[in-house]
């Protein structure tokens, strides 16, 4: 009967603990990424050892909690990490493409309109070559055009600078997360050593590693001692309870290296995508704007130099500069100095007509052959706008479809790891009844003991 008391107590404790786990699950029904826990019950083995008499029957000592199981599917979780890495990369790429699209993908009031107005100003000048107003108009339109091209280059510079900043920021976050995961590994290992339960710690580690996957394309390798190594393409970021650090070199191009040795490392995910973009990803964009500026500058200057101005002098360079970033109207050029005349007299505006006709002439080269002009300025700008738009559009589309896949994976994880309130409440009923039953067992054992202790041997009293 003493044994019976023990069995009853075991039952009570098991039911109590089980209820605790149910309560924990219910409390965390809304916690992001929470994986539910489940009590694993086992029969308590018979107590062996000294027993008076021989041939005593062996009976179990009630129930014992073997452990608390964390309900996860590591294959789904590995897929989720892979998906997050992919998403991190796609989102970073889409962000950059969208930023460029927002600043340079305008169809109204953009570069195209500035160039168009420039040609129009020369057409106006051709009608009244001696008027100061139309001469100044040409200078102003030229300044507007140069400004638009310089602005375009500056905006690309801004996006590049932003991307560089974000890369460094994210690498800092990666390092912080790596430290945290290492610390968690240490705690989990010691809990395992004590035969304890590390469910919540493991869930927290899962959360941190997910973010590392998104940022760096990290993958996870769980060891027998409960710790998990975090691997990035460049090597081991976290090994057990030890974390390595990465850093970004100054560049350009900025590279990711291990902090302690300076040897090259590599990441995927968001940082990988940004690093790749910074490594020449904007080169062709810069080149196209430079080709545009150079094509216009060369063609206009050539015709301008062949014309004469109001004072009969040959035209000087209209534009100065070497590319889009430094294109300017020649500071030495005045309204009188605009070479509108082809044959000399100020009433002759045919050179202005010729310059205005550059609108429909192929003066811009293509990156595939920078020395040969093949397209009009308008066609060149239109191709540029289309390219910018296409990159943004296809990047956005890839993000959308990846998001859908990611959502599906989360549903699959939820099937296994998610908390169902109905399920937990049913378990609660179950354990409640078990508690009541064990309590009744205790009462009954107690009554029997009471009879034995207090009522045996009291004959006639």
């Amino acid at each position: 009967m003493i044994d019976g008391l023990m069995i009853g107590v075991n039952g009570l404790l098991a039911a109590q603990r089980s209820l605790d786990v149910v309560a924990h699950n219910l409390a965390n029904v809304n916690t992001p990424d929470y994986a539910r826990q489940r009590v694993v019950l086992k029969e308590a083995p018979p107590v062996t050892g000294f027993r008076p008499g021989q041939g005593a029957p062996a009976y179990g000592m009630g129930v014992v909690i073997q452990g608390i199981e964390l309900m996860t599917d590591r294959f789904v979780e590995a897929s989720i990490r892979e998906q997050k890495s992919h998403m991190g990369s796609l989102t970073a790429t889409a962000d950059l493409a969208t930023r460029i699209d927002e600043v340079l993908g305008r169809t109204d009031g953009g570069l195209g309109d500035s160039v168009s107005r420039f040609w129009g100003a020369w057409d106006q000048l051709a009608l009244t070559p001696e008027l100061m107003a139309t001469r100044n108009g040409v200078l102003e339109a030229g300044q507007d055009l140069a400004g638009a091209l310089r602005e375009a280059k500056n905006m690309i510079d801004d996006v590049v600078a932003e991307a560089d900043f974000r890369l460094r920021d994210q690498v800092d976050e990666i390092n912080t997360l790596a430290e945290q995961v290492a610390r968690l590994n240490g705690e989990i290992m010691s809990v395992h050593g004590r035969q304890g339960v590390a469910g919540d710690l493991i869930t927290e580690r899962y959360r941190l590693v997910n973010r590392l996957s998104e940022l760096a394309g990290a993958s996870l390798q769980v060891n027998d001692d409960g710790s998990a190594d975090v691997l990035i393409p460049g090597g081991m970021l976290v090994g057990g309870s030890k974390a390595s650090q990465i850093e970004v070199t100054t560049g350009p191009p900025a590279e990711i290296v291990w902090s302690d040795t300076g040897l090259p490392s590599a990441t995927r995910g968001s940082t990988g995508a940004i690093r790749d973009a910074l490594d020449g990803g904007f080169d062709d964009l810069y080149e196209r704007y430079d080709l545009l500026a150079n094509g216009i500058r060369t063609a206009v200057n050539a015709l301008h130099a062949a014309g004469t101005d109001l004072d009969g002098t040959t035209g000087v360079d209209f534009f100065t500069g070497t590319g889009a970033g430094d294109l300017e109207v020649n500071a030495a050029l005045t309204a009188r100095g605009v070479a509108a005349s082809a044959s000399g007299p100020s009433a002759d505006g045919n050179q202005a007509v010729a310059i205005g006709s550059l609108r429909v002439q192929a003066i811009i080269a293509d990156p595939s052959d920078p020395t040969t002009p093949v397209a009009t300025a308008s066609a060149s700008i239109s191709n540029l706008v289309a390219e910018i738009g296409r990159r943004a559009q296809s990047a956005e589309r890839r993000v959308e479809s990846a998001t859908a896949i990611g959502a599906d994976l989360e549903v699959r994880r939820g099937e296994i790891s998610g908390v169902s309130v109905d399920e937990e409440l049913t378990d609660m009923l179950r354990f409640q009844r078990a508690y009541e039953a064990s309590a009744r067992v205790l009462t009954s054992m107690d009554q029997m003991l009471d009879t034995l202790i207090n009522r045996v041997g009291v004959v006639g009293r």
Binding site: Y34, G105, R359, I388, G389
Partner: protein
């Protein structure tokens, strides 16, 4: 398949976010009036719109040039018409002067009128359009009168060109040297008129007849110029019509790509709003029941 509670809420939230984004996108289109917030919305369309805008600017240039050429030629036409009229009068005067019974006073009167016509022609020859001589090319004036009364051609024979279409350039001025006969040595209209006046005073019938022949030649030249002008102005009109038609069609293409059709957009907005409301309703229904309602 187990369905955790969070999964249901998360699915609902995702759907809500998607429908909200749709509504927002359509609203932005309606308020801005443009389907293209940036090139990413329709890359091919954006490329086309960029080219179309330049094309429209090019057509606007041609229209400006056509307007200018038309005004230029219009001024020239008035001058040439007046010149033609006074030359016809001169012809009639010359015929009159052959009348045998005319006295010296009448002949003098005719001669004076002929000289007056010559002066009128000088003024007409120097007609200008916005400060430029219509008959004088790039010079500052077409003809000049020297101290002794001789009229010389001061202008140039350059043509003022105006591009009125991708394939056509129109000369907007007139060649004064040709119109007034300076290309015939010594027989320009002014010299002829002066000599005619002198001969009328002198009463030399043969000389008068000789000069009259030259006067007729000069008159024919001027009248031919009217024909040339007429055909040029006609070509301007058809160039203008073509440019305007092209402008309309380009703008229609641009609008088809860029502009929001309010009726369609309003319908899409209503549909998107409906989807949003339906999603809200379904989320509200997610947790209407659970075991908690049934336990004591």
């Amino acid at each position: 398949m187990r369905v955790g509670d969070r999964v249901r809420y998360d699915s609902g939230l995702n759907a809500l976010r998607d429908t909200q984004r749709q509504v927002d996108r359509i609203q932005r289109q309606i308020t801005s009036g443009s389907r293209l917030q940036s090139a990413g919305d329709d890359p091919t369309g954006a490329a086309a719109v960029t080219r179309i805008r330049d094309g429209l600017a090019e057509l606007a240039s041609y229209e400006r040039n056509i307007d200018d050429a038309q005004a230029y030629l219009g001024v020239g036409e008035i001058a040439v018409t007046s010149a033609s009229n006074v030359l016809i009068r001169a012809q009639s005067l010359a015929a009159q002067s052959l009348n045998a019974g005319l006295g010296a006073a009448s002949r003098d009167g005719i001669a004076l009128e002929l000289e007056g016509i010559r002066d009128q022609l000088v003024a007409l020859a120097n007609t200008d359009y916005l400060g430029r001589p219509v008959f004088g090319g790039y010079a500052t004036s077409a003809v000049a009168v020297a101290g002794d009364g001789t009229v010389t051609f001061e202008g140039t024979t350059d043509g003022v060109q105006r591009r009125i279409s991708p394939s056509e350039v129109m000369t907007a001025n007139l060649n004064g040297e040709e119109v007034f006969g300076f290309d015939t040595a010594g027989d320009d209209v002014f010299a002829v008129l002066q000599r005619l006046a002198d001969q009328v005073r002198a009463g030399d019938a043969d000389a008068i007849r000789a000069e009259s022949v030259k006067l007729n030649e000069r008159t024919v030249t001027v009248q031919n110029m009217l024909g040339t002008l007429g055909s040029r102005i006609g070509r301007l009109e058809s160039a203008r019509t073509v440019a305007q038609d092209q402008k309309l069609s380009l703008d229609a293409r641009r609008a088809a790509i860029e502009d929001v059709d309010l009726a369609t957009a309003a319908t899409e907005l209503a549909a998107a709003n409906q989807a949003y409301e339906a999603t809200l309703l379904s989320i509200a229904r997610i947790d209407s029941m659970s075991l908690l309602d049934f336990l004591r």
